[in-house]
Assembly symmetry: C2
Homo-oligomer: 308 residues x 2
């Protein structure tokens, strides 16, 4: 009943079992990541233990799920998208390890466990992040290829979403905004880069692995952009409303370091409305898929309603 | 007179003006890097200033020179190899920024200037390294392609040389060996990864950009491996014999942190002999080029005889 799902927008689509979908896709992603990464017994053992510690720390695998769901929406097969889903997760995990460092967000807790540098020390944590970023490109390059998009397209997509103009640029702008009063548009600039860029890249790569049409790629870009922004607005809200135990990471951190967030700038109620509007825009972007994007719709719903 | 050059092995080849060659190639590499990187005025300004600070801090551009010289030895054009030469230099610079961090080698001086984290702070230095590593893959992916090697081959080559089994793995093993007594074979394991892997990758990529034959690629690999090891043995020697002013970085650092080095394990004289033997092996590897590898020969000479 995809049409009904879209019409009701932010009402969950009862016909789609998202929990089962996410569990199945996370299991498949975990198996693939385990196969792509050097085993923890490979020398130098420390770096492979550190890489695997954060990669298998119980992440929700939201970006890989979006990548796989986008591939399916375009009529593609999960196996074709899997290396790209894994590459994106490696980049996401590297960015968390580096963001948690004392010189950045200085966080002790991530996904309910001590952060990488608390376990392995700062030097190894920096290197584990470096190695995961590099591993992402190795994984993307070593897969066998796709019909309409080249390795060149795929690597460029990954590199641009992760570089100084997007993911890294967002973290820089976020660091620099701490303790300062910034406008809503400056906050959106940060969110677009820090969160939306890699989420958007995840769905685009999924589409590309399925030989998507240019029109589908535009739709996926639009969807990924808005889901990414909604994801970060909800993240800001959860930081204020949930406990550290519920989140598995340090709650109230944004307020403590005077980080610019939606709740801080426009208040909680308005933040919730903005997240719902962004999710609605994400839904509308899926129109060209005419009901073949149930998983993407359900993930967008989940992003809006999640509590951790 | 290339045959004479090879026969005399570690005697400099008088007919080749290496200083002029290195100056010309460094100028061309600097221009290309300037064109590939976002300008320092592009937002977020801090990250682009930090990336450019270390990238244009006066590096010798040894890896790009090796890449370009390898392309020429295979009959290729400099322009085809240039993006790969730049990609390798971005990876080398990122590794220096991260290695200099307080959590790793904790160095204040690099190329005669304050290290990246001393100028921009640790958080930005981590991110500048991350961005340069990512930029390397973007540069490699965005060039127009080569006749016999695909973007897939090139990206895999770069990623494998830089990842947890090579460059990053070498730095991990190096960190872990500090203050410990290790054997000569363990030290070689570190040098192969920390230095030789990326030098070897530089010459291989140069060859690949020139559509080299499999036999030429084997020869370049052999050459790069031995030049890389010689480079690191000489680095160890210079750390003991030169002043900080001569090196442009903190001299005596290896001894101060009880780092495993060739001089520490086998003494200075034996280290010098080992470096000469490795250079000789590098020379011999160039036999298949029958005199078309003058620049590579001259660079190998320079690596052995350099004083900084």
């Amino acid at each position: 009943m995809p049409a009904r799902c879209r019409a009701e927008a932010v009402t969950p689509c009862k016909s789609f079992d998202l929990a089962a979908y996410l569990e199945k896709s996370a299991s498949a992603v975990n198996r693939a990541l385990d196969a792509f990464l050097p085993k923890a017994t490979v020398k130098p053992v420390t770096i492979h233990r550190a890489m695997r510690y954060s990669l298998f720390a119980g992440g929700k695998r939201m970006r890989p799920a979006l990548c796989l769901a986008a591939a399916e929406a375009c009529g593609g097969r999960r196996a074709e998208a899997m290396p790209l889903a894994c590459a994106v997760e490696c980049i996401h995990t590297y960015s968390l390890i580096h963001d948690d460092l004392p010189a950045m967000d200085n966080d002790d807790l991530r996904r309910g466990k001590p952060t990488n540098h608390k376990v392995f020390g700062e030097g190894i944590a920096v290197l584990a992040g470096d190695a995961l970023l590099t591993q992402a490109f190795e994984i993307a390059a070593q897969c066998r290829g796709w019909p309409c998009y080249s390795h060149r397209d795929i690597v460029l997509e990954l590199a641009r979403a992760s570089g100084s103009l997007q993911l890294v640029g967002g973290q820089v702008a976020d660091l620099e905004a701490e303790g300062k009063s910034i406008s809503k548009s400056q906050l959106r600039y940060i969110h677009e880069r820090k969160t939306s860029a890699l989420l958007c890249c995840s769905v685009r790569l999924g589409g590309m692995s399925a030989n998507c049409t240019p029109r589908q790629l535009v739709a996926l870009t639009d969807f990924g952009y808005h889901v990414g922004l909604a994801f970060q607005v909800i993240d800001d809200i959860l930081d204020v409303t949930q406990t550290s135990q519920q989140l598995g990471k340090t709650a109230g951190k944004d307020t403590a370091v005077q980080k610019a967030t939606y709740p801080a700038i426009v208040g909680l109620d308005r933040s919730r409305r903005i997240a719902a509007e962004l999710t609605q825009l994400a839904f509308e972007a899926l129109a060209p898929f005419r009901g073949r994007a149930q998983a993407l719709e359900a993930i967008a719903q989940y992003v809006l309603r999640r509590d951790r």
